[in-house]
Amino acid sequence: MSDVKTRIEDLLNQNKVVLFMKGTQNFPMCGFSARATNILQDLGVPFLDVNVLEDEEIRQGIKEYGNWPTIPQLYVNKKLVGGSDIMMEMYQSGELKDLIKTELQAGQ
């Protein structure tokens, strides 16, 4: 588990917004991943898309890392935000936009 944990932490350390998803932001391969991608694109938020379909180790490792068993998963500033339904709820309430704005500014 340790090296996948390090790999995950490196990804999270180097990227403010990371979406672990099936497929890529240009070619999402699953409905929920597509929905998550659309939300971030609609908010105009640049993010790293990690295609778990091409990395089985990360696909299993990320589920254990944040105790979240499904994909997609959104991380902002190394913190798990949630899956596509939490993203949708927060997107609709405007909470997601505020969270990302605050977190991105926190880093500057």
């Binding site: 979240w68 339904d85 939490i86 709820e89």
Partner: protein, 76 residues
């Protein structure tokens, strides 16, 4: 799992609470569940979702439950 089995599983973990199970695609592996329970007291939204997912941790691992969309409400 069948809709009935999903419902029974939730009722086992949330006795006496109102739970709903919806088969999103008719293929018995893309589910939406709704749980209103006092067990969510003090839990953040994400912790509430993790609380519900724990009920299906095996099925989520094997992929028997492929997708699980969750809505939770704190019963006051």
């Amino acid at each position: 799992m069948t809709q009935e089995q999903m419902k029974e599983r939730l009722e086992k973990y949330y006795p006496g609470d109102s739970v709903e199970v919806i088969d999103l695609t008719g293929t018995s592996d893309h589910w939406e569940v709704f749980v209103e329970s006092a067990a969510f007291k003090g839990l953040s939204r994400i912790e509430q979702h993790q609380h519900v997912m724990k009920c299906f941790s095996d099925e989520l691992k094997t992929g028997e439950v492929h997708a699980l969309s969750i809505r939770t409400k704190l019963k006051t």
